[in-house]
Amino acid sequence: MTSSTNGSTINGSTWRRDALIAAVALAVLVSLPFVANKGIVFVAGTLALHVVFGLSWNLMFGQTGLVSFGHASFFAIGGYAFAWTAKMFPQLHPLLLFAGAGVLGALVALVVGMIALRRSVGVYFAILSLALSQIVYLLLSYTPSLGQEDGLTGIRRPLLSLGLTTIDLARGDNYYYFMIAMCTLLAIGLWWVVHGSMGRVFKSIQQDPERAAFLGINVQGYRLRSFAIASGTTAIAGALYGPWLQLLTPEIAHWTFSARPILYTLLGGVQSFWGPVVGALCFAVLEYGTRTLHGLSEIVVGCILLLIVLAFPGGLLGGLSRLGKRMAGKPAVAAKPELAR
């Protein structure tokens, strides 16, 4: 039953399972500062951002079959937009700035998408997005007011006034909790899009765009929507990243960072909503586990990635569910997403 995992099932039941998984994950994240050291809390907070990064990329690939090689540029656009405006206009409410970063990311995606999606899908769109992300990377690297290659430093964790009370996000683990809350909201939003009627339209486009068009679906329009939603969401994640690290460098716009959500998704499994989450978690564990091995870290991560791909060429979740089915004696059905159509 690939369908029950791909999320667009209309027969209920997935949301209960997904809510349960999310609750467990949240409980772990929330209790982490009490039981783990600062290093692990930092990894967990960063992981939450990467999860949103991966989930939003899969909203394009897993849902409408759009491959972007430049997703990191939207992460960077959000990050720099927030950090710069927070520095220039400290009187503005941080939530407004986070939202603004998201809107900016979505708007840039709309403009780019309106031009790009008209002419190209598949590998062309992928390479085009790569070119555009290099442009963003170069602009960030050479713009004096954005710190050029040194980036923006000393990004402050803001005061969050919520009407009745004001929370100082710079104190203790406040910013960590704030980030977890924001990422949860973003993930819920993405879940809702994927599982709702728009998700069903997306899914139909991913499966057969031409057929979808003959149902009166404006394929290009919906691809544009998925591109804009994914980019806006990622821009908010990027905005959250600046104060977390208190530093932003152009490296977050580099193509090697754009490769991350792709790896998370493919590693975890395209078909499942949770695929990118599993992939990001694997990566975080691998990197944390090998952080002290100079040079060997890359070798170990690389080898494990290779082993996973060779053992489960359909993502971990797909592989595991197939394994489970084989144990239960049912025929396995391979899921085949395509990169270049």
Partner: protein
Amino acid sequence: MLAEFLSPLFNGLFSAMVVFLFATGLTLIFGILRILNFAHGGFFMLGAYLAFTLVRLIGGDMSIASYLLVSIAAGIAVGFCGLVVERLIFRRLQHVDEAYSLIATYALLLISEGAVKAIWGVSFHSATTPSALGSAVVVGDLVMPVFAIFIIALGVLCYAVLEWILQHTAVGKLMKSLASDPWMAGMLGINVPRFYAWIVVIGFFLAGLAGGLLLPNQTLSPNLASVFVVQAFGVLIVGGMGNIRGAFLASILLCVIDSYGSIVFSQVPGIFFYVAMAVMLLARPQGLIAGARL
């Protein structure tokens, strides 16, 4: 006067041939196996480091002959890596969706980066240009380093050789038919897997060779792996989905545009390459040389 116009052209051609030399192996593998090899940069870097070590071992001043021999040696070593990679990884990925081969090549990129860090460390190295190539030719007020002229000549030579092989030899015809229809080639009794293995080895050999040849031009650091890959991807696609002639023309077009663009807009050097690439992809999505594989 003349130099103002010609010097960007010369610089553009130089960087075009650098990108083209880098992209040849990538184009070959993509054209035939349809694998977008992220690791290409990693193995290019490996070739450069190997050549660097060999140069040090030899010591003293390098002649052009030893420079070429060292590059070929680096190419052969990297080509051998290609053989291992093909046996252990690419072969197993043939029946898997191409998206997943992306993870595999990215993993290989990480491994090659890690290997370079573990063996040579993270500090920067730079090699000297062979003294025979160290001077410059001056025409009027146009200054042309001999090394750059040499690289341009090598790029053109490399293109001419590949083009000749593809168009006029039996092997080339075989490659072209395999690129457009592997199934049919299999039907005709061609040992397709062995042929694929050779393509990968040659592709990796070209990566290592390029690493050695371009060594005098590079600062060696583990970042080298990801420097040219994006430009090479651009050349590959703008050229037309992995054909050598397209890649050659696209690298010249994009690099020369970038070279002139950088004069007009010097604040952000290198940006015009990607602007031109985006425009080309939108204006001519089928590529410069459409339809032809290789």
